[in-house]
Symmetry: D2
Subunit: 210 residues, 4 copies
């Protein structure tokens, strides 16, 4: 059976947990339409994360790629429109590095637009009672780097039609309880449900093309 590659990230910065890790672990091995979900946990360091992603794209040859991560402070789940060829870290990654104005891929194009069915996911969320939005920026931290790298690698592998993009989650309760300021949050099951609905919609778009 074809697979949908679903990634989350390890905890980072001051966050005690990462809701993207919990959501992807929960959904690992489940069925999303005609695709089997294969989950992977990425490190919060761009070189290791991109290397792991290259390996997964090569070995799994997924029919769809849904990358997820945490954006504490956002009020709702969001789908990213675009990944840019820039790393500019306001906080250190888990290796203690703070890249500044560096490319994700030297010589690569300036950006890649998401190839996920963005409007279909939004509609599916709303149909499931989940408010959600498009986001015009994935930031310039590891989340953006990983989205850029996945789209770049699929192009290099001659598979530009594989739907691929990034879903940013708000804080979970565990993240919010550890923040000094009052941030919006959603219970983990609601976050996992949003990822699941997105994965199913992405999977349906692949089947629809077959």
């Amino acid at each position: 059976m074809n697979t949908l590659l679903l990634t989350g990230f390890e905890p980072f910065h001051t966050h005690p947990v990462n809701p993207s890790a919990e959501a992807t672990r929960t959904l690992d091995g489940t069925q999303a339409g005609n695709l089997r979900v294969v989950s992977a946990l990425l490190p919060v360091e761009p070189h290791a994360a991109c290397a792991r992603l290259t390996e997964l794209l090569g070995t799994q040859r997924p029919a769809a790629v849904l990358l997820t991560g945490l954006a504490s402070g956002r009020p709702q789940v969001t789908l990213e429109r675009v990944a840019v060829n820039v790393m500019d870290f306001r906080i250190p990654d888990n290796a203690g590095q703070q890249h500044r104005d560096a490319p994700v891929q030297a010589g690569g194009p300036d950006a890649y637009l998401s190839t996920l069915p963005l409007r279909a996911v939004l509609a599916a969320w709303h149909g499931a009672g989940i408010p959600g939005q498009l986001s015009d920026t994935a930031g310039t931290f590891v989340c953006n780097a990983v989205m850029y790298h996945a789209l770049h690698t699929l192009r290099a592998l001659g598979r530009p039609d594989v739907p691929c993009g990034f879903l940013h989650l708000p804080a979970s309760a565990g993240v919010a309880l550890a923040e000094a300021k009052a941030v919006p949050y959603l219970p983990q099951p609601e976050l996992t449900r949003a990822v699941e609905v997105a994965a199913r919609t992405v999977a349906a778009s692949v089947s629809g093309e077959a």
Copy 2:
């Protein structure tokens, strides 16, 4: 058995639902510690709401009063510290009135501090995995008016020791889906749970005093 009076509000403004109405309806008749929860729905018009509240305080003679309402845009559940003797409406109430710089109670004191066990409720929330905060302002709309009126009336009835205060809920999914902008929200069951934990904690504080 002694009662805990729990109030919510009708829908208002552009909001299709009011999560405070749904939470209080769900909890009506349940047990909160040694108290029985009696729920009431208040109209979003200050004079009718205050009249209804006066009646409820007189007939129910509650041992505790927990008033709840919606504050769309807030990221977490909040307990109000204080109600002020001011009505200044940025939006019309459900009677179409927009009171401006008017007192809730002509000749009344400038404000009343909440008599709820604020820190105990915060601690109970955190213990239950619910991030929550104190708020320094209940605004100057009907929520504030009702909180002021309840505290004023308990004083007038010679019952200033009855714990009484206001809990503001963020948007539910239903409210957020109807907003033009992306607002923070919580699923209704999580909002209801936050009200339930608060009610139980308030009830425990009454028993503790007995």
Copy 3:
């Protein structure tokens, strides 16, 4: 000639300057309508600040009192509606203290409403091209304590009719440049101008009553 007492605060927390100090220093000795501006700088510690204020109210016997301070993060100049009898410090004051759930004045009323001509100041600001707002909370830090104390002391002195209240300034450029996050700011001359317009309007309201 009668005086208008105008106070600002020393720098505090991580802020290298305090725009309220600069504004009040600039306006010291100027004329606001029929009143002479007497400026004073208050320490950011509630007991010393209140003691200094008591002394100034006694010796100056001002015809009007305009207290000012910094609220970094606010987008516009704001006039406070109310001061509450609560000190609950999220950051330490300049003496290193972090008061929690303590009254400003043990046994005092729960709050005092501002006695400034709030709508007249708003109108004067708008007429002068200065967007400004009413604020429903002065917080629970030293600014609020000083506003509460001034209103309480004027009452105790038998002078409740002296207009008295608090004006919160946004960050100045100097404050904003030192913040880790992008905060709204106004150039110091614009902040000083907002204080001057407010002082003139307050002074006019006193003359109007004479």
Copy 4:
């Protein structure tokens, strides 16, 4: 003498004025380093704006291009990092159109990174006492379209080395006074000064290369 092309926009949406128009008008004909500033006012409709820009780039053959516009709600002046090949309008443009998920340039690359000396402008702002930031998104309205089109056209003209990018201004007082909500603002002279400092820094980077 070589020119720096400086553009602003007409008023749009509910905004009574556009501070980018006022800043560019004020600076028209002035000297920025070794370059003469030539200002142009663009319509808030993507096709007409892009056509006008194509014409200006052809006739003026500018040595540098600084595009400016209004982003009401932002707290500080910002330089955009990137323009994306997407038009998705949340509000209608001045022709009443609301483009949705449309490319700026059919078949064009997904995005272009700014070619302005971003860090040098930030440093010059800070040196001039102006807090300012990089922005990771220029949105998906006419501002972004114009930035994309300018960078695309310079490439097509064989002039990819001409520094070109976008500067977003916060509200001016005139804009803020017309908003229903309290938005951050800066006095127009401060906004104009920020554009002037940016223009001078961009011009210096061109001379530096000569």
